[in-house]
């Protein structure tokens, strides 16, 4: 049994082994369907995310596990039950793994200290989203074979993005160069210490990138004065058709979804020839099967 609380704490060889394992879970290779037979995977979602929850659900089912879904709506959390109360109650029903999404950074770490089952972080606050980073890395590895020497540009609201943090750690661990680009108000301090290069100029960073990963822009950042307007954001940091043309030959475009079409990415780019967005989604299930397999064993 092992937790996946974040990419932090995992070595390169462990990450590689996990990605290799995901290879075996791709559609058409049904060699592992019984791995979790008789076991229970609990989906514990305090924040709605149909996409991630469904992906873990399918992954668990595909391995033969029974899945228990728990979402915050109508739960006892609103009646003053603490996170640990809830987690211990879920634990008492006997799952092998708890897949957990929570709006507070570090919430899965707290639970992991107080329960005996494995905790998989399916996104905590603005901290990490390790399964997303692993499926992104998997998708790139599928293209390139290896990430060594490749440059990935992560674009947008770095500060509030758990996808950006996990990807930074994961891509760096796998040998890629990571450039973070966005407005200064959305760049927290200390990113360089985590191994990133930081720029505020998309147009100078773009031609070097082998992959551009656009992040979803939360529209409430306007009202919090991180940004003056979506219009200005699109002008400075939007991945539009003109910019797409200046990308390296063969460079790919990624997005963790859901997309604000026309804000962080133009529809023609999201659906265009460089886009691997749908591959990311379909790889998600295979990668999450591998994660469940590693954490439940």
């Amino acid at each position: 049994m092992r937790h996946l609380l974040g990419i932090e704490g995992w070595r390169r060889d462990e990450l590689e082994a996990l990605l290799d394992r995901a290879q075996a879970h791709l559609p058409g290779r049904p060699d592992a369907t019984n791995i979790l037979r008789g076991k229970v995977v609990a989906n514990l979602f305090f924040e709605d995310s149909t996409r991630t929850r469904t992906s873990f659900h399918m992954a668990a089912k595909g391995l033969g596990a029974s899945v228990m879904n728990w979402t915050q709506t109508g739960s006892s959390v609103s009646k003053g039950e603490t996170l640990l109360d809830t987690a211990r109650n879920i634990e008492a029903t006997g799952p092998t793994v708890i897949v957990m999404r929570h709006r507070s950074s570090g919430a899965p770490h707290l639970v992991a200290k107080h329960v005996r089952c494995a905790i998989i972080n399916a996104g905590d606050g603005t901290h990490e989203h390790p399964s997303q980073a692993l499926l992104d890395a998997f998708t790139l590895r599928q293209r390139w074979g290896s990430l060594d020497g490749r440059t990935v540009l992560i674009l947008g609201d770095i500060m509030h993005s758990r996808v950006a943090r996990s990807n930074l750690l994961c891509l760096r661990a796998l040998g890629a160069r990571v450039v973070l680009c966005g407005p200064p108000t959305l760049m927290p301090p200390g990113l360089e210490a985590m191994g990133a290069e930081v720029t505020h100029s998309l147009d100078s960073a773009l031609p070097q990138a082998d992959a551009v990963m656009c992040l979803r822009l939360q529209l409430e950042r306007m009202s919090e004065n991180f940004l003056p307007s979506t219009r200005e954001y699109s002008r400075l940091f939007g991945l539009n058709a003109a910019r797409e043309e200046r990308m390296k030959e063969g460079a790919v475009v990624m997005h963790p979804g859901p997309i604000n079409r026309g804000v962080e990415i133009a529809p023609s780019v999201a659906d265009g020839a460089r886009s691997v967005i749908l591959e990311q989604v379909s790889n998600g299930v295979a990668v999450r099967r591998a994660i469940l397999e590693v954490c439940a064993s």
Partner: protein
Amino acid sequence: MSSTVLFRRGRVIDPRNGVDGVRDVLVRDGKVVEVSEAPLPVPASAEVVDANGKWVVPGFIDLHVHLREPGEEGKETVLTGCRAAVAGGFTAVVAMPNTKVVNDNGMVTELVLSRARAANLCHVYPAGAITKGLKGEEMAEMGELVSAGCVAITDDGRPVMNAALMRRALQYSTQFGVPIMVHEEDLTLSAGGAMHEGATSTRLGLRGIPASAEVAMVARDLVLLEETGARLHLAHVSCEGSVRLIREAKRRGLRVTSEVTPHHLILDDRAVGDYDTHAKMAPPLRSDRDVQALREAIADGTVEAIATDHAPHGVLDKLVEFEKGINGIVGLETALGLTLELVHAGVLTATRAVELLTHGPAQAFSLPGGHLAPGAPADVTVVDPTEEWTVDAHRFYSRSRNTPFHGRKQKGRVVQTWVGGRKVFENGQVGPGKESR
């Protein structure tokens, strides 16, 4: 019980009176009578304390303590807080007014004082609120608070965001001569923040509180201080920028004093580790660079006092998501050990360390005690500077256990605490004192 005590052959460290050497100290009827380099004869019926190899120092004074009574007696009471105080070598504490009935009127002040009299362990000096209900809207009756016994005026825990109100409060306080004590935090800059803004908050994905949230308010209040000629005391200073401003203000003769907590001197923001709520406090643990600046500032006299900001909380207040965790840690029973860490590390001399716990705070709030000259109150702490021990939160006298220092090895420990010539703590045992109800 004898009212005469002779402390024999201890190393007396009394910074205010320039004493550091082996002395005999004779106290009688609650006062210091004589401090002698030559051995004194033992008076008839005197209790003799063999202080050979020990430090005999003025009782420690803590300018910043939360006793939680009235209102949150499950966390602490005046009595349990006083027990924790004397166990930590403190003979006087200043009680913050942010209780669950706010100390913004004389009745609450009197209640705290009567509980303290009943506890009968150490001196408790209440601090009254700047504004009614700590709401930051209307000034509390400062005159009544001072005449009821408040020694300082503060909305501690909250800043006074309204600059005009702060200016008036400073002006108004000058007629009473009491210090205004401030918790410096610009709430628009700290909003949503759970820890210091820096590489660690970025790694953990937590919204940061920038140093400017404190420094900008320090700058504002020093400007207001200069115009009003009041006395300003800055609570729990945590950053380099604040220290720089204080240094400059003092050079220009402003009446500003300040305090730093032991935890801000010992830990930096990395102590949050993997979301340890025991390292969550306001102001937050800052960067290593800030810690170094604070250490310089206590050593060079820019900052007068080490104060604990003793903030008891229940277990469930900390056993939650980091962002939801309540701020604060208990401090009375770990203060000396942590301060001595700085002595062992060569940051402070023994004399300066004692001064920061005694004369410095006494002077900042014009309190009695803090030294051992003849005529001074016989508030005395005896320290064994060599005893090695391990912090065990389960054995605290405080009703609460919230500390990041549980299990930490310490060298140097309080062995006796005397208040007004009466022994109230010895070898781990607190003396008399009972609940007043």
